[in-house]
């Protein structure tokens, strides 16, 4: 396996995976609470001795960019954005599983529970229980620490959570993520009512990454093409004295 053509081919295969990651980022440039994925390319088998001059590239990790997106003001009382990096709201699905999100565009359901708008799943308070706004209370205020008051009375406190390794959160679509470990409560958090967090995708960066990927791919194709010609030439040269 010392052929550079195989390496280039492997790299081309990774590029086809990564272009979809970049395409997904760009497609979600307007998705509230969306965090961009960054493909990481690593060496597969590091060289064991100097004779092994080549090593394969693999992509077995994506890195989720946790830089907060800009906060867009909407004026809607049920829009809440997290201004603090790497902390998350929690919602609970019908199976009782906790899912995490940065998307705080909220609504009230028919039981007057606060639900996360895109998934319609109940938003959790600090004890991971749903939050109910009593009937007749519509003047809802959400303080910076997540305390909700309605018509001047305190109702609940929105739960925000952080993880030892937030990269372990797995995206589920609908701007929701699943955790494999239990979160803790952050020391400090700043919530902003009447606004939402815009996608943190930087379109210019995403475009630059895409152009780079496309160029690398053309180079890989060139390497394979050159190898094909060279090896063909070598075989011709070897066969020449035999006059076949």
């Amino acid at each position: 396996m010392d052929s550079p053509a195989y390496l280039a081919a492997q790299h081309m295969s990774i590029a086809r995976n990564n272009i979809q990651i970049l395409a997904n980022n760009l497609a979600n440039a307007s998705t509230s609470g969306f965090q961009a994925d960054r493909p990481l390319v690593a060496e597969f088998e590091p060289k064991k001795n100097f004779m092994d001059s080549l090593s394969f590239a693999v992509n077995n990790e994506n890195f989720r960019d946790t830089t907060p997106g800009e906060i867009t003001h909407t004026g809607n009382i049920l829009d809440v954005a997290i201004a603090t990096k790497d902390v998350y709201f929690s919602v609970q699905n019908s199976k009782g599983e906790n899912l995490y999100t940065r998307n705080g565009q909220l609504e009230l359901n028919e039981e007057r529970q606060l639900v996360q708008g895109s998934s319609k799943l109940p938003l959790s308070d600090t004890n991971k229980s749903p939050i109910t706004i009593p009937a007749g209370m519509n003047d809802i205020k959400i303080a910076g620490d997540g305390t909700i008051s309605a018509n001047g009375k305190m109702v609940a406190k929105i739960g925000v959570f952080k993880f030892a390794n937030s990269q372990s959160l797995v995206k589920q679509g609908n701007t929701l993520m699943k955790a494999s470990t239990e979160p803790t409560t952050p020391d400090k958090v700043a919530l902003v009512q009447r606004g939402y967090e815009a996608s943190n995708v930087n379109p210019v960066l995403a475009l630059a990454q895409m152009i780079e990927l496309q160029r690398e791919d053309s180079q890989d194709a060139f390497v394979i093409e050159t190898y094909k010609e060279q090896s063909g030439q070598q075989i011709d040269d070897l066969l020449k004295p035999l006059n076949v």
């Binding site: 590029a15 086809r16 995976n17 272009i19 979809q20 990651i21 970049l22 395409a23 997904n24 980022n25 760009l26 497609a27 979600n28 440039a29 307007s30 969306f34 994925d37 493909p39 990481l40 992509n59 077995n60 990790e61 994506n62 890195f63 989720r64 909407t74 004026g75 809607n76 049920l78 998307n103 565009q105 609504e107 009230l108 359901n109 028919e110 708008g117 895109s118 706004i133 009937a135 007749g136 519509n138 001047g152 390794n165 372990s168 797995v170 995206k171 679509g173 609908n174 701007t175 494999s180 379109p203 995403a206 475009l207 895409m210 152009i211 496309q214 791919d217 053309s218 194709a221 093409e225």
Partner: protein, 264 residues
Amino acid sequence: MTIGALSAAASGLSFQDTKVRVISNNIANMNTASFKRASAIAVDQDYQTYQGVGSPTSAEGTINPTGTQVGMGVKTAGVVRSMEQGDIEITDNPLDVMIQGEGYFNIELPTGEIGYTRDGRFQLNAERQLVTMSGYKAKPDLTLPANTTSLDINKEGQIYAQIQGSPNAVLVGQLELSVFASPGSLDPMGDNLFKENIAAGSPTTGVAGTAGFGTIVQFAVESSNVKPVVELTALIEAQRAYAMNTKTMNAVEQMDQNLQSLMR
């Protein structure tokens, strides 16, 4: 694999298309009284997992800390309205009333259902009842006495009529308001009317000036809350995002050509 990138880009084009349609409706309603600007909400689609988080990376028990997840693009989650108060426009019509703050006027629809509106440009019908521009009656029924010379509507929405030859104004009735937990989710029916639904929550009916309700301003109309600068910025943004997704398609096409060139 590139088909996934292509469909992700296509989903981006489709969302931006929805966004542009919502923006053009906003711009078209720049001068519609009580109109609330809408915006399309996007969410990411499902993900394919190629390498799971926590999958082993060696026989020594080291694990993959992040894994590889590849997204399938974007979809429209819904269209929500911004409930920001529109600017106040002063008129000389005593039947023009505006809600300053939370609340909707209750309107009896021809079907017998109740519609909700913030458009308080009332008129009188043949029976001297307060009706909307479309001729739907305000709820409760408010009938002005004959020979009314002038009309006073106070902050609480109480309507006083001054009748010719009578020294004191007569209380005709009081406008009723409804508030919703999530008014941005009400179903628009056109004609500045809305219908309640599950997402908006059931209405709480009351009168202006009490806790949770706005106050009434007479001789005023609430303008559309569409801000042309905001819409044009959003339009440019959508146009750019559209172009970006087209670029993705070009990049994918180029990569496909790279592969095809090797097959020759």
